[in-house]
């Protein structure tokens, strides 16, 4: 069996002031840590309330990739930020559900869905 590509590219962009979007393309594994955290620190660490993880370009995610997302979640929560995820395939959506990560990272089909939820809930922290 061939191992899917483990190369990852993460592009960060700001959206509507306090929201930052991380477009994740390729494979998300332990080796993606530098790329992911650098993008996060560069664009999302300050002045951001919500971080949307866009998985539309995700090819592969290992269990360590899930661990990496938990690390990101810890960092985001320390900055009082909220994490959302969009563009997950059914397979990875199921993994989020099995691992109950969907309870901490809210899942949405499209980026627009996540943005509209944020517009409605802005200012809310303890729910």
């Amino acid at each position: 069996m061939s191992v899917p590509g483990t190369e990852v590219r993460v592009h960060a962009r700001k959206e509507r002031g306090q929201t930052c979007i991380l477009d994740i393309k390729g494979g998300l594994s332990a080796f993606a840590e530098d790329e992911l955290m650098e993008a996060y620190n560069r664009e999302c660490a300050t002045g951001t309330r919500n971080v949307i993880l866009n998985f539309a370009g995700l090819e592969y995610m290992s269990s360590s990739g899930i661990g990496l997302l938990v690390t990101l979640l810890i960092r985001a929560q320390r900055r009082q930020q909220r994490l959302l995820a969009v563009g997950l395939t059914d397979h990875y959506r199921e993994i989020f559900e099995i691992t109950r990560l969907d309870e901490a990272i809210s899942l949405h089909e499209e980026e627009a869905d996540a943005l509209s939820v944020l517009s409605a809930e802005i200012g809310e922290w303890i729910r």
């Binding site: 069996m1 061939s2 191992v3 483990t6 594994s29 332990a30 080796f31 840590e33 290992s62 269990s63 360590s64 899930i66 661990g67 938990v70 979640l73 810890i74 929560q77 320390r78 993994i95 099995i98 691992t99 109950r100 990560l101 901490a104 303890i126 729910r127």
Partner: protein
């Protein structure tokens, strides 16, 4: 259509519903045959859900001499924050508390008689099969008092009840809790056993207001009564459920869906009855008394009410009172001269308004105060708030509001220790809602404050019994009462935690935190916030594991607040939790630093429990850092200090038993150092101690460690049994981390038994769940997967898994094995022998420097096999013989047996 006589509740006549009664009858017949059934009765407010079940029970009593009914109702005001409320009420009914008959007034006399005949047996069963449920659920704190000493003495088990009462007090002192799964199992076992004596209808009303723990118990019972003589009925309002809860999906919705999937169509929907059923209800109601009401009147009445049960009953009552319906000379009800459809209320609220407004001013005031207390209220509280004499209030409630106006019912005494109150309830919650909704904001605030203060003084010294209610009243009162609201949220959360109702505890604490922002800045507020965050961290820890982001957040907040308070002694718990967080995240340097702080601070405070815990913590960290001498020093010190009689309750405060952890990790060190038999002894001692302490999390941990040890020893049958046991414990207790760990070990067993694909799937799933808990200790799980990949020939995948774990982990203890497996995987492709050998030599040096004899032996075996493969068997035999020579025990265990064979084979080839 048969007209039926009225009951004292609302609606006061039960008519129609033959089809629904028939359906319930069929279900009960199956339950009687030992095939327990579940039914969900749904309908909007006032549609007659409660009346249907009540009347069904009456019908059952006519046909069956033994059947009994137990019922509990969820509370709109405090239900979500009052764990297991309906099940506590039902239990109290079954164990002879007459105040709990109030929900079923129509069935009370016959049902109460039947319950009295079995009370001795039911209490005996409770004590035998559900002692912890008895301690937690029966209100009042004094079990013996609750059940009645006379009965208990007669039945010959007064001593056991006394013991239970003492155990309960002990548990309260220790702030202990029992796991929710045990509550569920014991409650189900109690009902099952009782239903063997008397077929049981268990009715849980108004599930739309149920707390999460009650919903989970309802679901558990629904899935476990299949062989009992029990008909479990739940009722709810689908419209309320559709609205969700706290912005999320209502927790009842997935439960109802799952039950439907499991049992098929179990719903009786009173809203979707065909139009003719509503019309039949109108007809039947009118025909309960002699009348000469024509088709026109009947059509108009149906057009007005749509057959809505409460509205129809109340409108007919109003028409009689107004003179719109009058008796003619023959005593038949007929249209009166005053009948004016245009002047009649168009909605049920209008009818209620008319009924209330016809009462005198003092009765209206009493009801308004009662509505602030809730759907159920204590007349003594109402009297004190309304400044009316208690006897006078009792008289007016029982004679006028109950018997004459039928707006309230109940009036039976309830006891909480020394407190005795007479409890009433509104005969329909729409009455209470109407009264409450019509109070101005200012009236509500003042009345809530007054009710809160009266309750507080009545329950002085035992406010935990009503903590959720007090929190709500003081919150609604606002202003200076808010700080009290926060304190009672803390108290309610602690009560919920002890019942293992963790969702409810979390909700109370989060609400408390939200309220603190309205309190004035200062030390008192900081102290409250510190207590709330600490309690929240502890609750979240039990739910999600030590390394979960939410746990980190809670304890970080608590730590910051502790600093602002000058590091009070209670902050030690926060320090400990933070060290555990870093340990589980795999951040060993941080964990060690924090652990040393815990030890220093505990020694300063002379706190022996925390000194012991700090030793076990440092010992555990040292294991992962492969510093085995230090690990043994700390673990053995902990074992030395530990005394199960003195510290057996610590697990309930700290989350796991320090003695159990010390034995479990000592067993790991002993195996690593080359003492497999002593390791087994320590592992078994951990399990025995965990069983003695009876703390489920510690039990799961101990059995999991033993399973892991069996995997080290390659004793697969024992490993499989222990992993299965650990998985069961983890699933019962909801321990995500141990569930993941057990899945990995079970997968590993499957792999070694030849079911490689199945085993790999289990390991993979376990690894995902493990990582999602935030746990960074990934080295062992990764090697389980890598070994499976090696056996399956999936070289690249195995290498990637290993490389990821080596890249991330600070776990020195398992590195020799990670390197060894990497070398084995490299060898799956030709041309990598030199690279593999270098890696094995590196692993050998590392294992030797750590004193990890068992890992050294494994590496030496791999080197020997490589040399043999290269046709130079003698090259590495020295290293293998040296490693093997360290062992004096467990010589028949997996690796040692294989090493002996390899050595024999190697020497044989050399000699040849």
């Amino acid at each position: 259509m048969t007209a039926r006589g009225g009951a004292s509740g609302q609606p006061n006549s039960f008519v129609g519903r033959d089809r629904e009664l028939g359906r319930l009858g069929e279900l009960f017949a199956r339950a009687l045959a030992g095939r327990g059934q579940v039914c969900l009765v749904t309908g909007q407010a006032g549609s007659g859900k409660t009346a249907l079940v009540r009347h069904f029970a009456e019908e059952v009593f006519e046909r069956n001499q033994d059947a009994i009914l137990a019922a509990g109702s969820c509370n709109a005001q405090t239900g979500i924050g009052d764990p297991f409320l309906p099940f506590r009420e039902a239990l109290a009914m079954l164990t002879g508390n007459p105040s709990e008959q109030r929900r079923m007034p129509g069935a009370s006399s016959e049902n109460a008689r039947r319950l009295r005949t079995i009370v001795v047996r039911s209490v005996q069963v409770l004590v035998d099969v559900a002692p912890e449920v008895a301690g937690l659920f029966v209100p009042g704190g004094k079990l013996v008092g609750e059940f009645g000493k006379a009965i208990a003495d007669k039945a010959g088990w007064l001593d056991r009840l006394d013991l239970l009462a003492k155990q309960k007090a002990l548990a309260e002192d220790a702030a202990s809790s029992i796991e929710q799964s045990r509550i569920f199992e014991q409650y189900a076992a109690f009902l099952d056993e009782l239903s063997a004596e008397a077929p049981l209808i268990l009715f849980v009303d108004d599930l739309q207001w149920a707390d999460g723990a009650s919903l989970n118990l309802f679901f558990h019972l629904a899935r476990h009564i299949g062989q009992s003589r029990i008909l479990l009925i739940g009722s709810y309002r689908p419209n309320d459920v559709a609205l969700g809860r706290s912005g999320a999906r209502h927790p009842l919705e997935p439960i109802a869906n799952e039950l439907t999937r499991y049992y098929g169509d179990i719903a009786i929907d009173l809203d979707s009855l065909p139009q003719e059923a509503g019309r039949q209800f109108v007809e039947a109601l009118l025909d309960t008394e002699r009348n000469c009401l024509g088709e026109g009147f009947r059509r108009a009445l149906f057009a007005r009410t749509g057959g809505h049960a409460l509205f129809t009953v109340e409108l007919v009552r109003a028409m009689k009172e107004r003179g719109s319906l009058v008796r003619d000379a023959d005593g038949c009800w007929a249209e009166g001269p005053a009948l004016d459809w245009g002047a009649l209320p168009a909605r049920v609220e209008g009818v209620i308004e008319e009924r209330i407004e016809r009462l005198d001013a003092e009765l209206q005031e009493l009801l308004r105060v009662a509505s602030v207390e809730g759907e159920q209220f204590a007349v003594e509280v109402v009297a004190r708030v309304a400044d009316v004499g208690e006897r006078d209030a009792v008289r007016r409630f029982s004679r006028e509001l109950d018997r004459q106006h039928q707006l309230v019912g109940g009036g039976r005494p309830a006891r909480w220790g020394a407190v005795r109150l007479f409890l009433y309830h509104f005969t329909h919650n729409l009455f209470q809602h109407y009264l409450y909704d019509n109070l101005s904001a200012a009236e509500r605030a003042y009345l809530h404050g007054d009710v809160g203060h009266v309750l507080e003084s009545l329950f002085s010294g035992q406010t935990e019994e009503v903590a959720a209610q007090l929190a709500r009243h003081f919150e609604e009162a606002g202003g200076t009462a808010l700080s009290k609201a926060v304190r009672y949220r803390l108290e309610a959360a602690e009560r919920a935690r002890r019942m293992s109702a963790l969702d409810e505890a979390e909700a109370h604490l989060k609400r408390g935190l939200a309220l603190t922002s309205a309190l004035p800045q200062g030390r008192a507020r900081t102290q409250l916030e510190f207590s709330l965050w600490t309690a929240l961290g502890t609750v979240l820890n039990a739910m999600h594991g030590y390394a979960a982001p939410a746990v980190d957040r809670a304890f970080r907040q608590a730590r910051a607040l502790a600093r602002a308070l000058g590091d009070p002694p209670e902050a030690l718990h926060v320090l400990l939790a933070q060290s555990m967080f870093f340990l589980m995240r795999g951040e060993m340097a941080h964990a060690w630093q924090e652990g040393e702080q815990v030890l220093r601070r505990a020694e300063e405070l002379g706190d022996r429990a925390y000194i012991m815990t700090a030793h076990v913590l440092l010992g555990t960290i040292a294991v992962y850092r492969a510093d085995y001498a230090r690990a043994r020093k700390h673990l053995e010190r902990c074992i030395e200090l530990y005394d199960v009689n003195r510290f057996g309750e610590l697990a309930y405060r700290q989350g796991q038993d320090p003695g159990v952890v010390a034995h479990a990790f000592l067993s790991r060190v002993l195996w690593l150092q080359g003492y497999p038999e002593q390791a087994l002894d320590a592992g078994r001692a951990a399990v025995a101690l965990a069983d003695e302490v009876g703390h489920p999390y510690s039990q799961a941990m101990a059995v999991m460690h033993l399973a892991t040890l069996y995997s080290f020893l390659r004793r697969w049958p024992e490993c499989q049994r222990a992993a299965g046991q650990a998985l069961q414990l983890a699933e019962d207790g909801g321990f995500a981390m141990w569930r993941a760990n057990a899945a990995i070990i079970r997968g590993t067993v499957l792999v070694h038994q030849g079911s490689i694909a199945e085993g790999m799937a289990a390991i993979s799933r376990g690894l995902f769940v493990w990582e999602a808990t935030g746990a960074g200790l990934v080295a062992f799980g990764a090697t389980c997967m890598a070994e499976a990949c090696r056996l399956e020939g999936r070289r690249e995948e195995g290498l990637r898994v290993l490389d990821e774990s080596l890249y991330r982990s600070e776990e020195a203890w398992w590195q020799p094995e990670q390197y060894r497996l990497r070398a084995e995987l490299l060898l799956l492709a030709p041309g990598h022998e030199a690279e593999a050998r270098d890696l094995l030599l590196q692993a050998l040096d590392l294992a030797r420097s750590q004193g990890a004899r068992s890992l050294e032996l494994r590496v030496a075996m791999s080197l020997a096999r490589l040399a043999r493969h290269a046709g130079q068997p003698a090259d590495e035999m020295g290293a293998l013989a040296e490693a093997h020579a360290y062992f004096f025990e467990g010589l028949d265990s997996g690796d040692l047996r294989e090493a002996s064979t390899l050595l024999g084979l190697g020497y044989a080839m050399e000699a040849g």
